[in-house]
């Protein structure tokens, strides 16, 4: 029998999420020609019920610790539902279904494994599972190619992007591995001037893991995932060793690799070229059409936006996946876009706080790594949408349309809450 915990703050915040979900949905519906119909409330209301159920589930399972992450993740998912309703209403029920499944995955990750430290014990198993997931889209029968990137696996009508799961598994593996070897890595026996010469044998497994990830990405042609894996690798190495030099080398290698890829792969060169000059006459109706339309959408945002349902973000091709941020910014303006970014930053800082309070290096690295994923994905896609960096097809966590991303991100939230639960128990606080 587990004791009930008081998660009053969480419930209070969820009331705000409910208000957000309902007003957003009504605003979008009201701006449509058909106008608002009461049955349209079914979607936000079911989502609110799901979120409150998750809250009740945490309370009845006696989970302690963080009470902010669940409401933020719910708010972001609600924004995602509002935007799918706005931009691709035919996908709305599908997205709602995905969020129900994601809630299920969240609950499962709260329960299994019983002991969080079991994650670190089976690190080599994780490495193998991660590798298998990475390679799986290349396998016959289950591998699928969509829009030139071979990053999908499918069973009948159900398709999944395995790299979404790989990113979490990668963090678990790195956290476990680095916990064991961080002392050796951060105190290399030799230094070459200021340059640490790491004990190579200990670096081999992680470098190998990383190199394999890169190679697979070359074959699957997914720049976003490649960048994310690289980011995770460098961030985890830095978190474990505090050796900025490793990170610098990694960044230099990344630029070198980018330079080679620019010259070797047409799809990389195109991405960079349209980033440098999206408005060029020869590309604005071709490869950079999507980006240019996205920038037009941003430009129409102004301070307060066109109002939900009143902009024209639907002129951006496939807006609901990579350009959902621009669509959001057009209709809620700079103010709304800042608020969205603030939600992410809050999420990340809560995650980092959990990491700071975690009792073991493994849990610290795990929580920090998971928070980093959300931060990095947000920065890469928002940076791409706002033409700060070349655009890569990476999802805006919780908001962008898609099941794989929603499910893994909710499992990520579950893991963070579990880490905070462990530290709360260790400290004996509620």
């Amino acid at each position: 029998m587990v004791a009930l915990t008081r998660r009053g703050q969480e419930l209070g915040l969820l009331v705000w999420v409910a208000a957000l979900a309902i007003t957003g949905s009504v605003a979008v519906a009201a701006a449509e020609i058909a106008g608002f119909r009461p049955q349209q409330l079914a979607v936000p209301v079911s989502f609110i019920i799901v979120a409150i159920t998750l809250h009740a589930f945490l309370a009845t399972r006696g989970i302690r610790g963080d009470q902010v992450l669940l409401p933020i993740a719910a708010a972001l998912t609600a924004i995602g539902l509002i935007l799918v309703q706005r931009l691709a209403s035919n996908l709305l029920l599908q997205q709602l279904t995905w969020s129900l499944i994601a809630a299920g995955a969240f609950a499962a990750a709260i329960l299994i494994p019983r002991d969080l430290l079991a994650l670190s014990r089976f690190k080599w198993t994780w490495a193998l599972v991660g590798l298998f997931l990475l390679v799986s889209p290349l396998l016959p029968v289950i591998g699928r190619e969509v829009n030139g990137a071979r990053i999908w696996i499918g069973f009948g009508p159900v398709t999944f992007e395995p790299w979404e799961a790989t990113k979490v598994i990668l963090v678990i593996f790195f956290a476990a591995y680095l916990e064991e070897y961080r002392e050796v890595l951060s105190h290399p026996p030799r230094r070459f001037g200021p340059i640490p010469v790491p004990p190579l044998p200990y670096l081999v497994p992680i470098v190998l893991m990383w190199a394999l990830a890169m190679m697979v990405m070359v074959f699957e042609k997914d720049l976003g995932a490649t960048l994310l894996f690289l980011g995770i690798f460098l961030a985890m190495l830095y978190l474990a060793t505090g050796e900025l030099f490793y990170t610098l080398i990694g960044v230099v290698l990344m630029f070198a690799g980018g330079f080679v890829a620019y010259h070797a792969f047409a799809h990389v060169a195109t991405r960079v070229d349209i980033w440098l000059d999206p408005f060029a006459e020869e590309s604005r109706f071709g490869p950079s059409y999507q980006l240019v339309q996205g920038l037009f959408a941003l430009g129409n945002g102004g301070l307060l936006g066109a109002g939900l349902g009143n902009g024209m973000p639907d002129r951006i091709p496939v807006v609901w996946s990579d350009f959902v941020f621009d669509a959001f910014a057009e209709e809620v303006g700079f103010a709304g876009a800042l608020a969205l970014l603030a939600c992410y930053l809050l999420f990340v800082y809560r995650g980092m706080l959990i990491a700071l309070r975690a009792p073991t290096p493994f849990l610290q690295l795990l929580a920090a790594g998971l928070s980093f994923i959300v931060a990095f994905q947000t920065l890469v896609i928002v940076g791409g949408d706002a033409r700060l960096i070349p655009l890569t097809g990476i999802t805006l966590p919780f908001v962008a349309y898609g099941g794989s991303s929603l499910i893994t991100n909710w499992m990520l939230v579950a893991l963070l809450i579990r880490v905070s639960d462990v530290s709360a128990r260790a400290r004996g606080s509620p």
């Binding site: 951060s186 303006g333 700079f334």
Partner: protein
Amino acid sequence: MSRPIASNIRALAFGIGLLFLVASIGVGYWTLVAGDELSRDPFNPRLVAALRDRPRGTIVDSTGATLAESAKIAEGYKRVYRDRTLAQVTGYASFQFGAAGAEAAYGESLVGQDRADPLAQWRARYLRERDPPGSVVLGIDPKVQKAAVDALGGRRGAIIALDPRTGTILASVSNPTYDPNQIADPSTENTAWKQVNENNDKPLINRATQGLYAPGSTFKIITGAAALESGFDPNQKIRVDDPWQADKSWGSYFVRSSSHAHGDYTMADGYRLSENIYFAKVGLQIGGQKIAEYAQRFGIGSTPKCDLASAKGQVSRSGSLDRPTLVADTSYGQGELFVSPLQMALVAATVGMGGVMPTPHYATAVRDAAGHTVRVVEPGAQGQVIRPETAKALTVMLVNAVEGPGAFAFAARIQGVHVAGKTGSAENPAGPPHGWFVGFAPAEAPVIAVAIVLENTPRGSEDAAPLSPPVMRAALHL
């Protein structure tokens, strides 16, 4: 013990916070700072969106006759264009493909938020209220336009006529043309768009302002201006023997005279008989730097300050004239020169106006729905390009080039009016030469300046000069 993980976490979190700040600034730039410019982009569907939901303003010519207007269709509104010969001038406005021509350049005015009216702009941007659209008045004179269309007669090329006193463009023809109605009509837009874009003749390009050609002998006006202002004596006789090279270092390269001339030439003779060797020698005497400087003064190599899209052309690939053969070739209008008909019309207008270059413009006014003038388009003169006495001397020689004995440009004569002008044949790798004529009339107080290009015409300049009189007559009301 190594550095505690906690301090690494703090450092990473700090870095992430900084990057979020950078991202926010980036988003702020696009939403707040760049918004205005993006909203004016002719390809921004938001500006064109007014098309679908509400009528756009009309585009009318100088007599008030409608050239473009909106018509109601099932999906909302579409644009209807009345004059195919002005396809590149009115342009098109399409929900799918954006806008071009005046539809693009005056896009805001046509949706009721002219830039002269900040209040209307502000209301449109922040309150989404737009005034009912008014009209954009073009300076196109239908009589001159028709004369130019008839003169060109469907041949590939361009004619541009402008009023040298104001810079108002009176006629603008670019062949081959296309039907903007097809692009504006949602039922035909896709096939029409594909067709005009795959057409190797590039009908979407306004050859009058964007077509780039070697100027041929019409460029000698600039060479002459540079020489006169460098203290060169136009009456000094220069020996011409065809073919000619400055020295043996030119190898097998010679400048050739189109009349296989042998004799002593003054500058007036040089213009009248369009003598390449004469101008090559003049160019070498005053130097490539001077030629390049005057070409640039006349606006070659920089985008004309025109309200519709215009090409900038080039003096040479590098922008300077450093090799003797290049100086010689450039001096009589070949070399690596590229100019647009608009640029050459401005050269003629400048000479006619005593050295003052007008600013070209297609539109003359923007009116609101009630017909009141919101804004008058009168950009004024661009400034003194050459000295009045240089312009006067050139005018005399250019009149002689049309009216003098044996003048190459005799076909440009008009009974009872002094016409100043210069023909040109532009050699090009694509086949027969392009024929040119540029000129203005009446020479003593011009009211019209023209530039005519006939692409790949068998007799070059001889084919182009006869096109000038009907166009000038229409403007002179003869």
